[in-house]
């Protein structure tokens, strides 16, 4: 049954209150916030991040909401766009099984919440709406050409996150979705290598917040926008059977997608998490000099083979392109995978610091790349086993067990990530204050108390 899905989603979002949300879901949202703020800080020190921060500052828009790490305020829709862009440009954010969510939801909620003086409870509630709706629409809009960050689903969840914080009623929330879905937000894959890749989420954030504002001002959008055969879902994605749209509203408020949220430990497409984790464990526990390595054999997630070498195996001049062309950047490496695995061995860490041009072009790293041998193994799931064989015959093997959503076996500390990623911008005391405020977010009366710490 696909009838009335737009209305049902809007009604659920309108009626959801903080008190309806289980404690464990709230805990996940707080972790999501810490992780995403860390990710935005990381994005803000990258060159493209610096460029967009400077560009939007020069626009001189009405100062409503904070550009994180930018030291200024701009209009809430542009703050949502910039912060979302920063959250997206490192493949360092979070994800549900079929959709990234935090890199649009968190920037939208913080920008709109700041402008409207929302409480911590209201922010948590809005983020849950974004995760629950974004997670479900990601399961429906599953074209092979529209996966991951390329999914066109944020035209649906962002207006709900923004509209909830603006206090829109059910009719207005439907209007907001309808307006945001005026254009299908498909993507152009070749742009994934350029600076503008961050606009995969930046544009939906901008459009979603703008749409909610226009709905508040009385503009209408179709109230059948999701389910109609000429509506958004069927136009955005080649859905084999429209009855699948029912997934969007199934068990809303009963089954919580937010509980499946994964915060990324490394700036890379998630398939590579387990191999990188295994490489780091080996090189940090043993004496492994890159020049003495004979072979790096990686038994890896089967599905990882779909993206491994996505660019480097097709373009003989791949690294020359990154060196010489402005439209080929480090972002291509995050999908391709070979460089992140190799630099992990050389530098014994893998963070945004490893994405500087001099490191990307380092011959030592390229020597290691040539020694990587991948074997996709359908039996290994999301885990990986790495064997590093040295020229003297010594070998080191490490199995990194990740479950189906790629959680490291020993868990992942998002606070440590924030300390690391914000360290160049904030003092330890300031970071402690940010974490402390998020931990008691439900007691915060006005989110401006948090956003003023993030500037």
């Amino acid at each position: 049954m696909r009838e009335g899905i737009t209305r049902k989603v809007a009604e659920w979002a309108y009626n959801l209150k903080y008190e309806h949300i289980p404690k464990e879901v709230v805990a996940c949202v707080k972790n999501q916030l810490v992780n995403m703020i860390a990710t935005i800080y990381a994005g803000s020190i990258m060159e493209p991040g610096q460029r967009i921060i400077k560009a939007v500052k020069n626009w001189g828009d009405k100062p409503e909401s904070t550009v994180i790490s930018g030291g200024y305020k701009t209009s809430m829709r542009n703050a949502a766009m910039v912060n979302s862009y920063l959250a997206c440009i490192l493949e360092f954010e979070d994800y549900l099984p079929e959709s990234h969510v935090g890199d649009v939801g968190v920037p939208t909620a913080l920008a709109v919440g700041e402008s409207y003086g929302s409480s911590g409870k209201e922010i948590i509630t809005a983020l849950v709406i974004g995760n629950e709706v974004g997670g479900r629409t990601g399961e429906v809009l599953v074209d092979p050409v529209h996966v991951g960050h390329a999914s066109p689903n944020h035209a649906i969840d962002v207006p709900l996150v923004a509209g909830k914080l603006m206090g829109l009623d059910v009719e207005q929330l439907m209007d907001a979705m309808g307006i945001a879905c005026t254009h299908v937000q498909g993507n152009t894959m070749i742009n994934w290598a350029a600076d503008c890749k961050g606009m995969l989420t930046g544009i939906p954030a901008l459009v979603g917040v703008t749409s909610a504002s226009l709905a508040q001002a009385g503009l209408s959008g179709s109230h059948e926008i999701l389910e109609h055969s000429l509506g958004y879902c069927n136009m955005a994605s080649n859905i084999p059977d429209l009855s699948r749209l029912e997934i969007i509203t199934r068990d809303l408020g009963v089954e919580w997608r937010t509980l499946k949220l994964v915060n990324k430990p490394f700036p890379v497409v998630a398939y590579y998490n387990a191999p990188i984790d295994a490489i780091l464990k080996i090189v940090n526990r043993n004496k492994v000099e890159p020049e003495n390595v004979k072979e790096i054999s990686i038994r890896c997630p089967f599905i990882m083979m779909l993206t491994a070498g996505f660019y480097s195996l097709r373009y003989p001049d791949f690294y020359e392109r990154i060196k010489n062309r402005r439209d080929w950047t480090y972002q291509a490496l995050l999908i391709d995978g070979y460089y992140p695995m190799a630099i992990s061995l050389v530098d014994r860490e893998y963070t945004p610091r490893q994405l500087k041009l001099e490191k990307i072009l380092d011959p030592k790293v390229h020597g290691v790349i040539k020694k990587i041998k991948l074997k996709g193994d359908p039996a290994i799931g999301s885990s990986a086993e790495v064997t590093i064989t040295m020229k003297d015959g010594t070998s080191y093997t490490q199995f990194s067990k990740y479950d189906q959503f790629f959680y490291p076996e020993e868990g992942f500390d998002v606070k440590k990530k924030l300390y690391d990623m914000a360290s160049g911008v904030k003092s330890r005391e300031e970071i402690e204050e940010i974490i402390s405020m998020i931990e008691k977010l439900e007691k915060v009366d006005d989110i401006n108390e948090l956003t003023k710490l993030l500037a």
Partner: protein, 119 residues
């Protein structure tokens, strides 16, 4: 061309053996009950038919296909070695697929690459 035909043979056999696994992926609905023209640039052309539980191919070209995929022989070989799929060849601008056919073509390429890895 022997390597290409061996690759196609392997794909058909592996699909017949593993169609239940493939049916658990998002790709299945995009490739089942479809015919494809698979062309090796400047050389041979094959018609691949993917049914719900089987797949077969024959030399030639059909006017009734869901998608036409034309690539250089070396790119076909890299798909059948499990090193590439149609999306990664397209990312190098060496494969052009009509927009209407992109979903089914890219889904087929991903299944082909993954099944090739099982050799």
């Amino acid at each position: 061309m022997r390597e290409i035909e061996e690759g196609l043979n392997h794909f058909c056999k592996a699909y017949e053996y593993l169609w239940r696994v493939v049916s658990g992926t998002q790709y299945y609905n995009y490739i089942k009950n479809k015919m494809y023209n698979l062309k090796v640039k400047g050389k041979k052309s094959y018609v691949l038919t993917v049914e719900p539980e089987t797949a077969h191919f024959e030399e030639g070209e059909s006017g009734w296909v869901a998608a036409t995929v034309e690539m250089e022989e070396e790119d076909w070989k890299s798909v059948f070695r499990g090193e590439a799929n149609f999306a990664s060849v397209a990312a190098a601008d060496r494969l052009v697929v009509n927009k209407d056919a992109q979903n089914t073509a890219l889904a087929l390429g991903m299944v082909m690459q993954l099944l090739s890895l099982l050799k």
